[in-house]
């Protein structure tokens, strides 16, 4: 059981790091053409230098929602990590990590909302992209989605030894 808890802790840290990388790096969609690779993310569009992300007026609200929910997911996953360490020392034997699990599931909801909106609105045909494909940040965000769900459920199920 202790090994399982340690494993979950490591996966949790990995999730937090992946969320940070996914939110900060601007490689959600990549377009590789003969002129070079252009990558766009949540904040900037980068060729050789990075410039403002061009967004049509009807997609503006969606982009802001994606940005906000990715940041919220980072906040909640870090909060769950801290809560887990606190509960590790203050919880009585045999009790479950309810608070940590609950916060982790809220984080999972935030990632779900963010990535769904992005997939629905920004992965179709875009103005400057001739043949786009998904960048690594997009993949990392979906991996974090799976991991955070598994970790949240495991926290709710495990008992403290």
């Amino acid at each position: 059981m202790l090994v399982l808890l340690a494993g979950i802790f490591v996966v949790h840290i990995a999730t937090v790091i992946m969320l940070f990388v996914s939110t900060i790096a601007n490689v959600w969609m990549v377009n590789s053409s003969s002129l070079g690779t252009i990558s766009s993310g949540l904040w900037l569009m980068c060729n050789k230098t990075c410039s403002q992300l061009p967004v049509s007026s009807r997609d503006e609200a969606s982009l802001k929602a994606v940005q906000a929910f990715m940041i919220l997911s980072i906040i909640f996953s870090v909060m769950a990590l801290i809560l887990f360490i606190i509960q590790l020392f203050t919880l009585e034997k045999g009790k479950r990590f309810y608070m940590t699990g609950a916060v982790m599931l809220v984080c999972w909801m935030c990632i779900l909302i963010a990535v769904s909106i992005y997939t629905a609105r920004f992965t179709g045909r875009r103005l400057y992209f001739t043949n786009p494909h998904h960048g690594y940040c997009f993949i990392l965000a979906w991996i974090c989605f799976c991991f955070s769900f598994i970790i949240g459920i495991l926290y709710l199920v495990l008992r403290k030894k």
Binding site: A61, K64, A65, A68, F69, I71, L72, I75, C110
Partner: protein, 206 residues
């Protein structure tokens, strides 16, 4: 000591344009270009100039000493001097009237102090002229604060409801225990409320 001498020259006269060196101005408005200079040992017959894009001289002024205000040597008619050198800090800011889009560019504030062996220093401001001022958009902040605040509120509400429900359950259970105590009559159990209600019922029976 020659080393100290060089150090004194390097940091004696300093010109600064404030915290940020970019200024945004609305089309057809008057924009303030700030500039202050500091000296170690004071100044005498100091000469200061403002250049536009490093070539065009738009203001040239002279200051005799700290006790006097600057005198004008030459200026562009659209430029006004609004600084003051008799107060605590030596302010040599100018105001450019009725800015147009062609006024956007690099403005350099240059100062030369004969008292410090003709030490010179300058600072640059980058001016951009816009059609209309864009308000900073804080939708993202609002969403984040809203969700976090909402969750904290829900948590507090949940705790409150839990307390209230537990309190109500405890009260109804006390009522049931009261009945048990009075019907059995002669019991000295210490369960239930060891309070006034049990004791009040006991004496009339006994």
């Amino acid at each position: 000591l020659p080393g100290l001498h060089v150090l004194a020259i390097a940091f004696a006269l300093e010109v600064s344009v404030g915290k940020t060196n970019t200024v945004m101005a609305l089309n057809d408005s008057n924009v303030l270009l700030p500039c202050v200079f500091t000296t170690c040992i004071g100044f005498q017959d100091l000469v200061f100039t403002w250049y536009f894009n490093s070539t065009e001289l738009i203001y040239h002024g002279k200051i005799k000493n700290k006790a006097t205000e600057p005198t004008l040597v030459s200026r562009n008619p659209r430029v006004e001097f609004v600084g003051s050198t008799t107060k605590k800090d030596n302010n040599i800011s100018i105001v450019l009237n009725n800015v147009e889009f062609s006024d956007a560019g690099k403005y350099t504030c240059h100062v030369k102090n004969p008292k410090e062996k003709n030490a010179q220093h300058n600072a640059t401001i980058f001016l951009t002229v816009v059609h209309k001022m864009v308000e900073t958009d804080n939708t993202v902040t609002l969403i984040i604060v809203g969700v976090v605040g909402g969750l904290i509120g829900l948590l507090i509400l949940f705790m409150l409801i839990k307390r209230v429900v537990l309190f109500i359950i405890k009260k109804t259970q006390d009522g049931k225990k009261e009945c048990l105590v009075s019907s059995s009559g002669n019991d000295n159990t210490e369960n239930g409320l060891a309070g006034s209600k049990a004791e009040q019922k006991a004496p009339p029976k006994a």
